[in-house]
Subunit: 329 residues, 2 copies
């Protein structure tokens, strides 16, 4: 049986929050554009997906990428993590010089690990800006800062991203977030970002509470983003006000939870941060199965099975160059 | 591309909590035993799955079930909800008389709705004990009762099920839970069960907080259980003690959260209630990405996409009787 991830119903009957959950999962719900996108294979494992737009450029680097009808394989002759990372880095730097992709304009000199599943040994590292070209899973942390106000009830802090940011400039976002770079731990990243983006004092950071993660698969003009965000809650004193320490934030705003559904539905909210806030609103009893008709579907779309869509050992048939997944439904 | 839901790694490397998450998803991870189990079609939509063990009996009711190589279709000549429900009910009562299935020994005279997705119009109702014979999705509510103890920290209440219960007798369970029967609302069911199973007083019930839902697909000797549980948290005063009012509970126990992972891993814990407690432990920062190596996989296995595995319109080919899903990955 194939698992159907296609449209379940008429658009007209869909709630606005389900429409949003479908938007941040637009690539997941496209069926991974399976006729066009090809598995990206490293050391015999699928770790990503390559779109035709990217393929067109990789085809010029046959020493690095073995492209067949079935898949794109990183040259299996590369010996180890370092060699694989260096070879891809060279290609990416050349493509960046050539202005081949918008995504590479956001080059960060900050790498993400590439592996078959979260926590599995890393096969290579790749610049953060380039992960979407290969459809490799990326991981981040997000902090929902909130207060329990005696009159206004529970309120959530939001940040407005600086207009100078490469991605999502000027859009509203959760209070604090950041990507999980090579060598950085999850709490470590949360703490660092909380201090840099919102000047959260050390004693307050002790109250940072892990609350789960959300997984979704988004596609934009930059590329493919299978994204998992580790979610933290941080209850702050009523008089705490976040202040940006690194110039990446334009301003902060505090909103009662009753206004937060409208906030994340608005066009000026960063689509890929909506899952984090939506998850908060669900966990804290603001969005419930009784006020949200598509509650169950939304919960499932906040946790799509990214860890199992790639990662199986891939058999490369030497005869015809067509790869096939050894184990699948 | 097929979505792979097969084994991601060696069993030896798996954490105990991931092994548990795989256990309560044993059917999901089996790939739905797709070579043996056949879609169950009502009014042109797949609403369940039929195993060979069940098929063997349904084949004796050709007026009710049209069985082909491809699928099992409820006679499309049945006019409406009532006729469909009555016809299935007659068959089930006969099979119950014949002792055809263990599952039907738990006959409840309490029905569950059958539809293409949660909240979609119901196509028929079916006795609660029989849903697992048809692999139709079922829905329940569960309440995590907890206290914040000044010395012991956060503690969770558990119930031990009565030895007289038809399902999971004598097993440990979450404080309160119950199935969502025909005509019952979600909060309504939570409140009713809290009063019956734990004598929670009315004023305390005002603190009941919706916190999400978990979805998983379990198989037992009774049949196939694609299950979604709506999850509620209830913080109680330190001196509150649950007392069973309906004889279905043997006793209650209060445990510090630090001991709860061991509790749900033990053999005397009801497998299908573990997801609810595990979700609580994750949301409350007890199980974290830093103390649980398989955190991300576990989160995904607590929310498997049950709403999208069935539900597409099914095309019944009149020529050869082979059904095919119109939209699939």
């Amino acid at each position: 049986m194939s698992i159907s991830v296609s449209s379940w119903e008429d658009d007209n009957k869909m709630s606005p929050l389900l429409a949003l959950a479908r938007k941040f999962n637009c690539f997941y719900l496209s069926g991974f554009r399976s006729s066009e996108c090809k598995p990206f294979i490293v050391e015999g494992f699928q770790v990503g997906l390559i779109s035709p737009k990217v393929m067109k450029h990789l085809i010029n680097y046959p020493q690095v990428f073995h492209i067949t009808n079935g898949c794109v394989e990183l040259n299996p002759a590369f010996r180890d993590y370092n060699e694989r990372s260096e070879k891809i880095d060279e290609v990416l730097k050349e493509l960046r010089e050539k202005n081949a992709f918008i995504a590479l304009k956001g080059w960060r000199d900050e790498c993400f690990e590439v592996s078959t599943a979260f926590g599995a040994p890393s096969l290579l590292k790749i610049d953060r800006s380039a992960t979407c070209l290969f459809g490799v899973r990326n991981y981040g942390v997000s902090i929902n800062g909130f207060i329990n106000h005696p009159q206004k009830g529970k309120c959530i802090w939001f940040q407005k991203r600086s207009a100078a940011k490469e991605t999502w400039p000027g859009k509203w976002d959760s209070m604090v977030s950041g990507g999980l770079s090579v060598g950085q731990g999850i709490s470590q990243t949360a703490i660092k970002e909380a201090m840099e983006e919102a000047s959260v004092p050390t004693d307050l950071l002790k109250k940072l509470t892990s609350a789960g993660c959300v997984s979704f698969y988004f596609e934009s003009e930059r590329g493919l983003s299978p994204n998992t965000e580790f979610v933290f809650d941080l209850e702050t004193p009523i008089d705490f006000e976040p202040v940006c320490a690194d110039g990446e934030v334009e301003c902060f705003e505090l909103l009662p939870v009753t206004k937060c559904v409208q906030k994340i539905l608005a066009h000026d909210f960063k689509t890929t941060s909506a899952p984090v806030v939506l998850d908060f609103l669900i966990r804290h009893g603001v969005v419930t199965p009784e006020n949200e008709p598509d509650f169950v579907k939304i919960l499932e779309l906040l946790h799509v099975p990214l860890q199992s869509i790639y990662g199986d050992r891939y058999r490369i048939s030497k005869e015809n160059g067509v790869g096939e997944s050894m184990i699948s439904v």
